[in-house]
Assembly symmetry: C2
Homo-oligomer: 217 residues x 2
Amino acid sequence: MSGQADANSDRAIPQPVLNRIPTYLRAAEDLLADGTETISSSRLAKILGLTDGQVRADLVYFGAFGRPGVGYRVAHLVEELRRVVGIDKPWPVALVGYGSIGRALVAHEGLRRRSFDIVVVLDADPAKVGRKAGRCTVQPVSELEQELTRREIRLAILAVPSGAAQDLAEQVAAAGVVGIMNFASVRLRLPEEVIVMNVDLTLLLERLSLRLKVAGH
Amino acid sequence: MSGQADANSDRAIPQPVLNRIPTYLRAAEDLLADGTETISSSRLAKILGLTDGQVRADLVYFGAFGRPGVGYRVAHLVEELRRVVGIDKPWPVALVGYGSIGRALVAHEGLRRRSFDIVVVLDADPAKVGRKAGRCTVQPVSELEQELTRREIRLAILAVPSGAAQDLAEQVAAAGVVGIMNFASVRLRLPEEVIVMNVDLTLLLERLSLRLKVAGH
């Protein structure tokens, strides 16, 4: 992959392409685990329910991995895509909110395996402060700014009640966080350099419900 | 809203439009709670970060709600969109897997408030069977088919380990489920009439990581 094609140098990559890249990585990792050494764009496309051309066009955004007549070397694809996605190095993550979703995230073994390492857990409830949360101990939210700044944390997960989400999002952004995964059912208003990924479970269920209705179920 | 414009009769509605509809509903509900009686498409567009034309085009798929110079009657919009989305009536939901994600879902008060009512909880672990899970008691997965069929359940949430997901997905589909929200990091292979919504938290974090990298963070 050439330097010019690095993800950092091209800001015009369409959002749907960005959304697909981690799924290419998953597919490539599965193939690697199965011992597959090379794969054609058409076979990769079939696995992912995409077209041949889409796969080639998507991957070209990040450099030309494939070779005509040979396809992609799977091990190389995995290595490069891990770097493109940014999980070749661990992300220290702050978890704000240690309710039921917070506990599920701490218990989620896949997170650390995928380089997302929850290193700080904060909660506003004094009854939760001091409890063990995986390899962390729950700290009071009053320590948020100090802890996040000290540890240079760029990525935070907000798993707090809707009413508290905006205020806490502003606090984590002020502490230097540039990416927030937000589980609250609120649209956060933050400086535009902060990237928010909303995971609103009820909204997702509503999308599923609507798709079922549209399909005639 | 005319019968012809009903969601059930038009299967060609683009996926991005379907994905936006529940966000319109949220915005309309917020406006209703604030006492707003009517709203123009341009103001609704601004709230949602869309264009005026997009809002009007999206809502027209489900009938013409707006009136020129007046806009949308908020209470009417809420009522119609709840019906369109399919949450005007409760969905009985089966939860398969009572691990940490399953517990978070049972504890999630928003689900029932949004008409998603977990009425059956199943787990393969004999140690969990018989435990209280919200208003349910955890039942063994061996009772899956019988329970789902008896209760005519169409919607299931799979919160099980990746290795168990495919088999259990087939079982719920065989029991009549047509919509599955899947938390496992696996691509389920199911009859095409079954609609699967994947909620893969590590994949979502990878998308966020990639967006941060592309933004130069």
